[in-house]
């Protein structure tokens, strides 16, 4: 990543683009837009032993894997040809809060003191990458959706279980940030 880079796109540009995924997925293939089921399909493809939850025809859902393949390409294209500024323009209160629990001045997309292959066995790296990843996979399957499938598609279709899910996602994040972080990462 070079030192040049533009400012972040504002929310009123990014939000509507993301929101359009819902009608476009319906129009293109009558699909209910969501990302976390990609993790299930990968397990259904790769797992040598299959409990009933993984016995289904994932090929019918291959659009979902094409979508995440495209998302990886999109991340690559943007990071290489239209990179963001290396120092994110964060609120100084966030920077100060993070410094108090041992994170250096923010740079790039993730704190390098936790998200690096060399950190996987440190308490911080293990907690944030391994435990965090496990919770994302387990939690989204148990909840049957994530921020896309519940909080955007589900809310747009006015399904009340998705509102319950959204409140729970946020409550979980608040508990982790305000209770566990200050307590574990000190």
């Amino acid at each position: 990543m070079n030192e040049m880079g533009g400012p972040a796109w504002p929310w009123y540009v990014a939000g509507p683009i993301i929101g359009l995924m819902v009608p476009l997925a319906l129009l293109i293939g009558h699909r209910r837009w969501g990302v976390s089921s990609s993790l299930r399909h990968l397990c259904a493809i790769a797992s040598p032993v299959k409990p009933p939850f993984l016995r289904y025809d994932w090929k019918k859902e291959s659009w979902n894997l094409l979508f995440v393949g495209g998302a990886i390409v999109g991340g690559f294209v943007a990071a290489h040809w239209i990179p963001n500024a290396p120092i994110p323009d964060l609120d100084p209160k966030t920077v100060a809060d993070l410094k108090a629990i041992g994170f250096d001045t923010p740079r790039g997309l993730v704190p390098r003191e936790a998200f690096a292959f060399s950190q996987v066995l440190t308490s911080r790296g293990f907690l944030m990458m391994v435990v965090g990843g496990f919770f994302v996979g387990f939690g989204t399957r148990y909840a049957n959706g994530c921020t896309s499938g519940h909080s955007i598609t589900g809310l747009a279709l006015r399904e009340w279980p998705s509102l319950v899910a959204t409140v729970a996602f946020f409550a979980g994040g608040l508990i982790m940030t305000h209770v566990v972080f200050g307590w574990v990462l000190r």
């Binding site: 819902v22 699909r31 990302v35 990886i72 991340g75 499938g149 899910a165 982790m176 940030t177």
Partner: protein, 131 residues
């Protein structure tokens, strides 16, 4: 043709998540600490855009009203809380996990591998969990 369209949709999604710093671990912290409107604006305007466009579409395509529904089960809130813990820890929901790989945060492969393990563990115990 349809496949290409979904691939292209993914590319647009990936570029947007990177450019608006939605995949930034720091932005998620800023959101959970209520220090910035950015992520709330993203989510709010995404839901509003989706809701309005689905309402407009369903005037022309009444079959959309019969789109598959997601019923309530207790996993919605129990699993939802678990996902919320993971969201704050990794600073990423499943979409951003994938975009990170393209954007060069290759260590997120560890989080993805762990997420796949989480799905596998869920697959083995789903009949024992309250639903």
């Amino acid at each position: 043709m349809r496949n290409t369209a979904f691939l292209l949709l993914g590319v647009i999604f990936g570029v947007t998540l990177y450019k608006a710093e939605i995949i930034s671990w720091y932005r998620i912290q800023e959101m959970f600490r209520f220090h910035s409107f950015h992520m709330y604006g993203v989510m709010g305007s995404a839901v509003a855009t989706a809701m309005i466009s689905v309402a407009v579409l369903s005037l022309r395509m009444p079959e959309l009203r019969s789109a598959p529904r997601r019923p309530f089960q207790h996993g919605v809130w129990i699993g939802g809380l678990v996902f919320g813990f993971g969201w704050a820890l990794t600073g990423a929901c499943p979409g951003p996990l994938w975009v990170h790989i393209g954007a060069g945060t290759t260590a997120m492969l560890i989080a993805i591998a762990s997420a796949l393990l989480g799905v596998l563990v869920y697959a083995y115990m789903d009949h024992k969990l309250p639903h």
